[in-house]
Amino acid sequence: MNELKNELKKCIQCGTCTASCFSGRVTALNMRKIVMDYLSNERSVDVHDEIWFCLSCYACQERCPRGIKLTEIILKARQRITRKKGLPGRLSLALNSLKKFGALVVAKEEHVKMRKSLGLPLYHAQFDEKARKEIEKLVEKYSEGVLI
């Protein structure tokens, strides 16, 4: 947290981050203000639920003249939120599917058929029990109790 604080202290409120943010044009996401809120009110980045609208496009981080790692800071703040409140929307389904199948997007029967019709092998972990178990263990070990 202290490291983060020092990083954010470098901000000169130039607004380059907000100007670079396409998500902010259609949502409440405004990085300059979020940083400001931290500097003047000590309100941590993770109190701002609108960080879930971040596309993780890295435009703000690349352009910040003070080299503040904004996208990484958003992702870290999301980690603190998920530990408290879990994942929003369909993201928790995605995590469960990662645990069960080793896949965020799972092949259904129709997709298996289509792969076969193109002469392609099935080699995703989803189709191998040992591999699936390995991933399940990793998700259990490292998902910080976020799983429902």
């Binding site: 396409f22 596309l55 993780s56 998920t82 993201l91 997007v105 191998d128 990793l138």
Partner: protein
């Protein structure tokens, strides 16, 4: 080299994979599937939970083989190249590979030129964060514009060319309306330039553009701009049958577009 398709290509956009094998065969380069791979894992979602989770699953994937790994998805590329760099492993995006190592050879292997007007879309994680992507500009990449030219197509500039497709960071899964609004911002800019197709280099961008337009259709908003991964286009230009490319499995496939792909150069001569 081992091919790492990721969930989206292995489980949905198989035509991309088929096209890559075809291209490598024509280039006389070896490529094999990376057996028992799992989700890379997707950076936006897993890094919202724990860095360790993201790192360890990626490490397992990288340890499945000692060979260099090649991928055709920007998400897989970002995850595997970042984690790979801490293990001294080389991970390449097929577009970077084709451009850096093979552009001259591709020119010689084109069987039919495909004269389309296209809008290219890079997708954020192909060129950012720049610390792991030194081969490309972090503001205005040109690699893909040059690659489409090789097959006889014209890349036209459009409003918001370097903007995100709108689906990244888990936004498509967590807030579909936001993803849709951003998609429309992109589509409006593209529509103005009257193109035949959108050319992408990532299956998630492909999904956002293609399935996203189908969803917009249901809301009465019609754009009807087909989306295609560059390797599908290249494989067709090298002589692969359209059916093998999987394009007919995409949602938005206007007949004029399919016809242009089939006819290639002869289309202009008519």
């Amino acid at each position: 080299m081992k091919f790492f398709p990721g969930c989206m290509i292995h489980n949905r956009y198989f035509g991309i994979e088929k096209s890559i094998y075809y291209i490598f065969e024509k280039l006389e380069e070896d490529i094999e599937p990376l057996y028992n791979f799992s989700c890379c894992p997707a950076p936006g979602i897993t890094k919202s939970i724990s860095d360790k989770l993201w790192f360890e699953i990626a490490k397992r994937n990288l340890n499945l083989s000692d060979d260099d790994i090649i991928t055709a998805c920007n998400g897989c590329f970002t995850t595997l190249s970042e984690v790979g760099s801490t293990m001294g492993r080389e991970v390449r995006h097929v577009i970077e590979y084709l451009y850096t190592d093979k552009i001259k050879e591709i020119k010689r292997k084109i069987a039919k030129r495909i004269p389309l007007r296209v809008a290219v879309h890079y997708g954020c994680h192909f060129f950012r964060p720049s610390i792991h992507k030194k081969f490309v500009s972090s503001e205005k990449p040109k690699i893909l514009d040059k690659l489409v030219k090789v097959i006889g197509s014209e890349s036209v500039d459009y409003r918001y060319k370097f903007m995100c497709c709108g689906g990244g960071g888990g936004v498509r899964a967590s807030s579909l309306e936001v993803a849709r609004e951003l998609l429309e911002m992109k589509l409006r800019g593209i529509k103005e330039r009257n193109v035949d197709a959108i050319v992408v280099i990532c299956p998630l961008c492909l999904h956002q553009f293609d399935v996203g337009q189908k969803e917009l259709n249901q809301l009465g908003k019609r754009y009807e701009i087909p989306t295609i991964h560059y390797v599908q286009l290249l494989a067709i230009a090298m002589g692969m049958d359209i059916e093998e490319s999987g394009i007919d499995m995409h949602e938005i496939t206007p007949p004029q577009f399919m016809e242009k792909l089939i006819r290639g150069e002869s289309f202009e001569e008519l």
